[in-house]
Symmetry: C2
Subunit: 490 residues, 2 copies
């Protein structure tokens, strides 16, 4: 933290915000890992009090930021700092506290109801909450401001600079290609529709050892990283020197925990690759969810599900999982790359995954645009699933109720497809990738990625970063190339 001579006063005040966010990250991690359950309510109060303190600090920061407006001679990092803080400040200053508090309240109520509704597959239970959430999201869009369509505000809030124009362009190019690939994969038959290993149980103790070995192969730095267990896998960046991931052990189908570890390691590798000098500033973390998902999906899919990676980890798998004795590397590779249309997004493979996002994107866009009502979501869901994947969910639990995300609002899902698209760009612009991987040169792959993306943190907006590094924005051609090459050898 020495290259920001122009922003000394701002960063001194920002340090308070930073320290609060640091503690919030740790509290968030602890909630999911070790917190005794009775403390949930109290922790909620603490976190909401933190919001109050942060709001006060933002007010001070806002005044300082205004003074920098139009200031010349700033370097890229300094401009990045003002951009990121400006967005945060805009959020706090444009959106009334009572709206944010309403959203928080509805979210926590809706989360409880969603669980029950999903368990009973009863959309009507969740519907009134979705109604409230939609109304609040439209208000947010109005306060935040947008061009053309209120959904653009929500997209921008979730992924800086992203809009319907980007989304439509991506999906209109991607979906027909994916349909074609899906059809041909099925015809070729090399990648299976199911695999007997999906039903095989594993010993959790042995699987923990496998995961530790995978972490070693991925060269995660011991002094800055740890793996714990939680109900839903996640990554949290506490600081540049403390990034933690979690996984879960379901007891069968060992792909699931293995690839959750590789996926979360991808997030962690990004955070750990950011220039250490940016720590303590608003640009010291990953720039956006889309760019983050690009890293996790790059490591999970493009690296982790590759034939080369199977060779790297195969000895450790065999050593620890006795039931693998009769499977060779190719068997494992095919098990890792089952391709089949399915109802549940989180279980989807690389080829079908983006259809799930397209379903949500279409629904959100039309809902926020007033073209459909909350009532109509399940039928539109079924219609789109039929159109894209040729299957129709038999109930709402495997349809519109499957994800928790809508309890928190709209505009979040598209970043998953952005992640896939950007990971495809990285693939297409890194010709030497699989040679390095074949030789186990994980460190070199990290170095390349660090130079292309990681080191900048949030210095540039997602689109600026992509333009600067790759000369293009959300171009889906790389992803198409990758999928065609991997699944069709063409």
């Amino acid at each position: 933290m020495k290259r920001f001579e122009n922003l000394k006063e701002l960063l001194a005040e920002y340090k308070k915000l930073w320290s609060l966010q640091y503690a919030e990250s740790l509290m968030g991690w602890d909630i999911e890992t070790y917190m005794p359950e009775d403390d949930a309510m109290t922790r909620g109060e603490v976190i909401s009090t933190f919001s109050e303190i942060k709001r006060e600090i933002y007010q001070k920061l806002g005044k300082i930021i205004e003074r920098y407006e139009g200031k010349e001679g700033l370097n890229d990092e300094e401009r990045g700092i003002l951009r990121v803080l400006g967005r945060d400040y805009k959020y706090y200053s444009k959106i009334p506290l009572e709206i944010i508090q309403q959203i928080e309240r509805v979210r926590s109520e809706a989360t409880v109801v969603w669980r029950q509704a999903k368990a009973k597959s009863d959309y009507s239970m969740f519907k009134p909450y979705l109604e409230k959430i939609k109304d609040l999201q439209i208000k947010i869009a109005e306060y935040w401001g947008y061009e053309d369509h209120p959904y653009n505000a929500l997209l921008d809030l979730n992924e800086e600079g992203f809009s319907i124009r980007d989304g439509d362009r991506i999906f209109s190019r991607l979906l027909p290609e994916l349909s074609d690939i899906m059809k041909k994969v099925s015809e070729k038959g090399y990648f299976p529709k199911s695999h007997e290993l999906e039903e095989v149980s594993y010993d959790i103790g042995r699987m923990k050892v496998v995961n530790e070995e995978v972490i070693k192969i991925l060269e995660m730095p011991k002094g800055k990283f740890r793996l714990d267990i939680s109900a839903h896998p996640f990554t949290v960046r506490i600081s540049a020197d403390d990034v933690r991931i979690t996984t879960r052990y379901e007891g069968k189908d060992f792909r699931s925990t293995l690839f959750s570890v590789v996926h979360e390691c991808g997030h962690a590798i990004y955070e750990l690759g950011i220039d250490r000098e940016l720590e303590g500033t608003p640009i010291g973390g990953g720039v956006s969810m889309g760019i983050h998902e690009a890293q996790s999906r790059f490591w999970e899919n493009i690296i982790g599900r590759s034939r080369e990676f199977v060779s790297l980890i195969y000895p450790k798998l065999k050593q620890n999982l006795d039931f693998l004795s009769k499977y060779n590397e190719d068997d494992i590779y095919r098990y890792f790359n089952i391709v089949r249309p399915s109802f549940i997004r989180v279980d989807a493979d690389e080829v079908t995954y983006n259809f799930h996002i397209a379903v949500r994107y279409e629904i959100e866009k039309r809902l926020i645009g007033g073209e459909i009502k909350v009532d109509e979501i399940p039928s539109l869901w079924s219609e789109l699933m039929e159109k894209y994947l040729g299957i129709t969910p038999k109930n709402d639990a495997e349809g519109a109720l499957q994800d928790i995300h809508w309890t928190g609002g709209f505009g979040y899902f598209p970043a998953y497809t952005l992640g896939n698209v950007v990971s495809g760009i990285v693939y297409s612009k890194t010709p030497n990738l699989y040679n390095l991987l074949r030789e186990g040169k994980i460190g070199e792959i990290k170095t390349i990625m660090t130079e292309k993306i990681y080191k900048y943190g949030a210095t540039y907006s997602p689109k600026d970063l992509l333009r600067k590094t790759f000369g293009e924005e959300y171009n889906p051609e790389g992803l198409i190339l990758y999928l065609r090459h991997k699944y069709l050898k063409s």
Copy 2:
């Protein structure tokens, strides 16, 4: 939190402080348990930034507190809140920031040097730091204010209301009695000077099970409590619904980890017994270190090392520790209650422990009073050890360098003896205690303690609490009675 109508404004502002302290407690716990080691520096920065934020909040609180001065019609809790916050505010307002920062700096440097000095048993390395620490402590005493002797300020800072008059009175009555008991225990020979189990190794996995069983026997509430591992055992209260302890596994002499668990459970039982309604106020935690040590020592010694408790846990010990097959309950009881003069405070037994505190108390008093120089500490240490326990340390590692505490200042140690004294009062005022324990009625013992001490939190100052509940202050007669009864059956 509903009985404080008079302090609404104060408590609204205090809530911010409370939420910061909550997060600090969690960060402190994490440092000792799960934090990746490279994050230590950054976490230090976060914690020091928290201090800045807290200082700002204290300034606001100070102004509100002043307005309440002389206000009538407050209830006991409200007066307690003003008392505790008034003390905290006095600390922040009377002691200049630069002194506090100097203390923090010297402490962190001294901690590093102390480790090296102790390893080399080289007092001269540590001496210049002790010199600085002494000078800073005398400054603190001047800023804080005192009657008669500057050490009184340090005692009061560490234990509200405690003074040299109390300390001298306790030790002058206690030490001759302890000498007499020590001599007679040795003559009687029932409690051994050493035991072969001290050298026996245990399996850590099995010992963890034993500790979990002990936690069950102590009826620790699963939803509000957890046990982890750290280099030095400790208890942390994160909230009324989240109290955590740690232990360590040294691999032999299983008393050590077992009694660290019982000791820390004692601290935790206190915190968990405080009236839930006080959470979120400044009186929601234990009132002082002395009263806290009274609880940990009550559970560790008066409960944990009793013949009755051995009977309660014996089946679980036998079940998990195979090497105990040839030992009966009486053997275990005697192993738990070895009595011998020794050099290291933390290894000392109930009979000799307070001599170790007396050594430190005398040295601190004379040093702060200007009667001795830092130079003279080792020789005075040896002299006092010889006088009290009849043994002379062969080097400073087993003398003045054994404890880390002086890196943080003076006046802390006496609270350990206060803890013993107060646990003795509790013993002498709870005639039914061992009958309840014999029947395993841990819950009833907790209820009695809750009514006597726990529920009040910090509502009353330590002395007021003792007077209110027991009609006396730091009277050592209970402790003497307890030790005579246990060790001499008289």
